[in-house]
C-alpha cells in the first residue's frame, strides 16, 4: 500500500536506469543515511561506536571489495586480508615518510599500492579457474603475510614488529591516535564507506559491472559477445584490491590503532568470504548485511547473558558464542541460501503487493 511505484512515471532513460527507481527506496536510503550520520553519533555510546559501528563499516567495505571480485566477477579469492594488509602497510609507510600530507589522503592513496599487488596476483587468473584460482590468492595471502613479518622496512624497523598509528589531525581535530574521539573516527569511516559504496554501485551497474557479471555467469559466452576476458578480470582484481587496501588502512588507522602482521591472517580472509556469501553474492547491500551478521551477531551473543543479569564465565560465553553463531549461519543458509540480500528483496516484493498478494 505504501511501498509501490504506482503513479511514479519515468520520463527519461536516466530515470529508468537509476539504481533506486522507486521513490520510497530513495526516501528509505536517505533515512538510513540520516540515522547513520545523526542518530548513531548522538545516541550511541563509545562502545557502540568504536567496537560495533566502526569495525562493522570497515568490514563492510572489505566485504564490498571481495564481493566485487567474487560476487560480480566470479573469482573466488582467499587473499583479501593480505590485500588489506598491503593497504595498511602502504598507508603506514606513506604517512611516516611524508607526515605533512594529511593522513586521509594517504588512507585513500594506499589503495593504489594494494591495487598494484592485487593485479600482480591476478595475473594467473586467465589460465586458472574456479577453486584452483583460489589457491593463487591463498599464495598471495601467505606470501604477503610473510612479507609483513620479514621486510623490516615496511614497519620502519620497529623492534616490536608492529605498525603503530601516529596521532594526526584534520583542521585541528584529532582523527587518528588516542585523543581522536570515537565520534570523529566514526564519521570519517562512514563518509569514506558511503562514498566508496556509491562509487562501487555506479561501477557495478554500468558497463564494467555488466561485463564482470557476464564473465561470472559464463566466460566463454562473454568472450563471444566481445568482452575481453583478461583486462576485465584484471580490472576486477584491481578495483577489489583497491577497496581492500583502503579498508585495511582504515582498519589500522581508525580502528585498531596498531597492528601486528597477524591482524591480516587467513582467518580474516575466510571471515570476509563468509560475509560475502551469507550477505549475498553480487549485492552491495548484502555486503553490509553479511558484515553485520558475522561481526555484530557474536558481540550481541556475548553481551546477552550480561544484559539479563546472568554471570557466566567469559570462556563459556565464548564457546556458546561459537556454537550459536555456527548454528545461526546454518539456519540462515537453510532459510535463504541466496543470502540476506535476497531476503530483503523478497520482503520488498511482499510489501509491494501487500495487502492483496494476488
Amino acid at each position: 500500500m505504501f511501498y509501490r511505484e504506482a503513479g511514479q512515471f519515468k520520463a527519461t532513460y536516466a530515470a529508468d536506469q537509476a539504481v533506486f527507481p522507486i521513490r520510497q527506496d530513495r526516501i528509505g536510503l536517505a533515512l538510513i543515511l540520516v540515522a547513520a550520520y545523526v542518530a548513531v553519533p548522538l545516541l550511541g555510546g563509545d562502545f557502540l561506536l568504536s567496537s560495533v559501528m566502526i569495525p562493522f563499516l570497515i568490514l563492510s567495505l572489505a566485504a564490498i571489495a571481495l564481493n566485487i571480485l567474487t560476487g560480480y566477477a566470479g573469482l573466488v579469492s582467499l587473499g583479501t586480508a593480505g590485500f588489506m594488509g598491503a593497504g595498511a602497510y602502504a598507508a603506514y609507510k606513506l604517512s611516516t615518510l611524508f607526515p605533512q600530507v594529511n593522513i586521509l589522503v594517504w588512507i585513500v592513496v594506499s589503495g593504489f599500492a594494494s591495487c598494484a599487488i592485487g593485479v600482480l596476483f591476478g595475473l594467473p587468473s586467465l589460465r586458472i579457474k574456479g577453486f584452483y584460482l583460489t589457491v593463487a590468492t591463498l599464495a598471495s595471502q601467505f606470501f604477503l603475510q610473510w612479507c609483513f613479518v620479514r621486510v623490516s622496512w615496511l614497519y620502519n624497523y620497529n623492534p616490536s614488529g608492529a605498525i603503530e598509528v601516529p596521532a594526526r589531525a584534520l583542521f585541528g581535530l584529532a582523527i587518528t591516535g588516542p585523543s581522536a574521539s570515537p565520534v570523529t573516527r566514526y564519521l570519517i569511516v562512514l563518509t569514506i564507506v558511503v562514498a566508496m559504496t556509491w562509487f562501487a554501485s555506479n561501477l557495478v551497474h554500468g558497463r564494467i559491472g555488466r561485463s564482470w557479471m557476464a564473465i561470472r555467469d559464463m566466460d566463454i559466452a562473454a568472450q563471444l559477445i566481445g568482452i575481453r576476458l583478461y583486462p576485465a578480470k584484471l580490472l576486477a582484481f584491481a578495483v577489489s584490491s583497491f577497496y581492500a587496501g583502503v579498508a585495511g588502512a582504515m582498519m589500522v588507522f581508525l580502528w585498531l590503532g596498531a597492528a601486528e602482521p597477524d591482524a591480516f591472517n587467513i582467518n580474516l580472509s575466510f571471515l570476509l568470504l563468509f560475509m560475502v556469501i551469507i550477505g549475498g553474492l553480487g549485492s552491495l547491500t548484502g555486503s553490509f548485511f553479511g558484515a553485520a551478521l558475522i561481526h555484530i551477531l557474536p558481540i550481541a551473543v556475548r553481551q546477552a547473558p550480561a544484559s539479563v543479569g546472568l554471570t557466566i564465565g567469559g570462556a563459556t560465553v565464548e564457546h556458546l558464542t561459537y556454537v550459536i553463531t555456527g548454528a545461526m549461519i546454518i539456519v540462515f543458509l537453510i532459510v535463504e541460501p541466496h543470502g540476506l540480500a535476497r531476503l530483503l528483496q523478497i520482503g520488498k516484493q511482499k510489501l509491494r503487493t501487500w495487502p492483496f498478494p494476488y
Binding site: I128, Y132, A139, L333, P337
Partner: protein
C-alpha cells in the same frame, strides 16, 4: 657469493656432500606429505560424493582427536575410547546429513561450502565446551603406537627414523588401500562412485543419496581421526592443529579435487617439496618460508596443468 650459484648449484652440492641429511630430509618430507595426503583425502572423499568443499575437515580432525583424548581422560580405556570416538564421528555424519546437507540439497556449491563454515564454528564451540580449551597430550602410548627411533648408520652418517612416523606411514597406507578396496569392490562403494559421476543418474537407478552422504562423511571422519592421532602425537592436541589442515589446500590443487591418487601424490610432492625447499633454499631467504612455499609449488604446477595433476579436464561449451 653469486646469488645464481647459491640458488642453482650450492644446494645440490650440499645434497651430494651430506647424503645422510638429504635422505633424512626426504624422509621427513615423506612423513609430512603422507599426513597432508590423509587430510586432503578427507576433502576429496566428501567433494567427490557430494560436491561440497568441506571447510570443516580441519576442525573434524581436531574434534576427533579431542574426543579421543577427552574420553580417555574421563577414565575410558584407550581402545574403547577409540571405538566411542568412531561412534561420535558416525553420529556427526548422520547429524550433518540430516541438519545440513538434506535441507540444502541442490544448492550451489558455494552455499554448501558456507554451511560447512557454520559447522566449523559449531564444532569449535562444542568441542571446547565439552572438553575444555587446554591442549592435551595425545595418548599415543595407550593406543599402542610405538615411540622412540631407529637409527641407521648409512650414507656416511646417521639417518634416524621415528617409529611413530613409520607407524603413521603404515596406517596411512592401510587406510588408503582400505578405502580404495571399499570403493572398488563393495556395493556401497560402487554406489558411491556412481554418485560421484552423476547425482541424478545415480538417483534414477535407485541409489539413496542420503545414505551415501552418511557413509562418505563417516569415512571422512575416520580419516580425520587417523590424521588427528598422528598430528597430535607429533605436537599436541589443541585447536591450533586446524592450521595444519590448510596445508591440504595446495595438495588438493595439485592433485585435483576429485582424485584419490591425486591427493596422495600431491601430498607427497608438497611434503617433500617444502622440506627440501626449506632446508636447502630457505636459508637464502632467512628461513621460515614453508608457510607459503607449498602454495607457490602448487601455483607453478597449475600454470602448466590448470586442472591439477589428476583432475578431470573440463570441456567448456556454451
Amino acid at each position: 657469493m653469486n646469488p645464481l650459484y647459491q640458488i642453482f648449484v650450492d644446494p645440490f652440492v650440499q645434497m651430494a656432500g651430506a647424503p645422510d641429511l638429504f635422505a633424512q630430509t626426504i624422509w621427513e618430507g615423506f612423513v609430512g606429505g603422507m599426513l597432508y595426503a590423509l587430510i586432503a583425502l578427507g576433502y576429496v572423499l566428501i567433494f567427490k560424493a557430494s560436491g561440497v568443499f568441506n571447510f570443516a575437515q580441519g576442525i573434524m580432525m581436531v574434534f576427533a582427536a579431542l574426543t579421543l583424548v577427552g574420553l580417555h581422560e574421563m577414565g575410558v580405556h584407550a581402545y574403547i575410547a577409540l571405538l566411542l570416538t568412531l561412534g561420535v564421528m558416525y553420529l556427526l555424519a548422520v547429524g550433518v546429513e540430516r541438519a545440513v546437507l538434506r535441507p540444502l540439497v541442490n544448492q550451489p556449491d558455494i552455499i554448501l561450502f558456507m554451511a560447512t563454515f557454520g559447522l566449523t564454528y559449531l564444532l569449535i564451540g562444542a568441542g571446547e565446551l565439552v572438553f575444555g580449551g587446554n591442549p592435551k597430550t595425545m595418548i599415543a602410548k595407550e593406543l599402542g603406537l610405538p615411540s622412540g627411533g631407529i637409527d641407521f648408520n648409512i650414507l656416511g652418517g646417521l639417518v634416524s627414523l621415528q617409529r611413530i612416523d613409520i607407524a603413521a606411514a603404515v596406517i596411512a597406507s592401510i587406510l588408503v588401500a582400505g578405502l580404495a578396496a571399499f570403493f572398488q569392490y563393495t556395493r556401497v562403494g560402487r554406489a558411491l562412485r556412481a554418485v560421484a559421476d552423476d547425482h541424478q543418474a545415480a538417483l534414477s537407478v535407485g541409489i539413496s543419496l542420503n545414505e551415501i552422504w552418511v557413509v562418505v562423511w563417516f569415512a571422512a571422519g575416520v580419516v580425520a581421526l587417523a590424521t588427528g592421532v598422528m598430528w597430535g602425537a607429533r605436537s599436541n592436541v589443541s585447536f591450533a592443529l586446524q592450521i595444519v589442515a590448510l596445508k591440504a589446500l595446495p595438495v588438493l590443487i595439485l592433485g585435483g579435487f576429485t582424485s584419490v591418487p591425486g591427493a596422495i601424490v600431491g601430498g607427497l610432492v608438497v611434503g617433500i617439496g617444502e622440506k627440501l625447499g626449506e632446508f636447502y633454499w630457505g636459508p637464502l631467504l632467512g628461513g621460515g618460508i614453508e608457510s607459503w612455499l607449498a602454495y607457490v609449488i602448487a601455483l607453478a604446477f597449475l600454470l602448466f596443468r590448470p586442472h591439477g595433476l589428476f583432475g578431470e579436464k573440463i570441456i567448456e561449451r556454451i
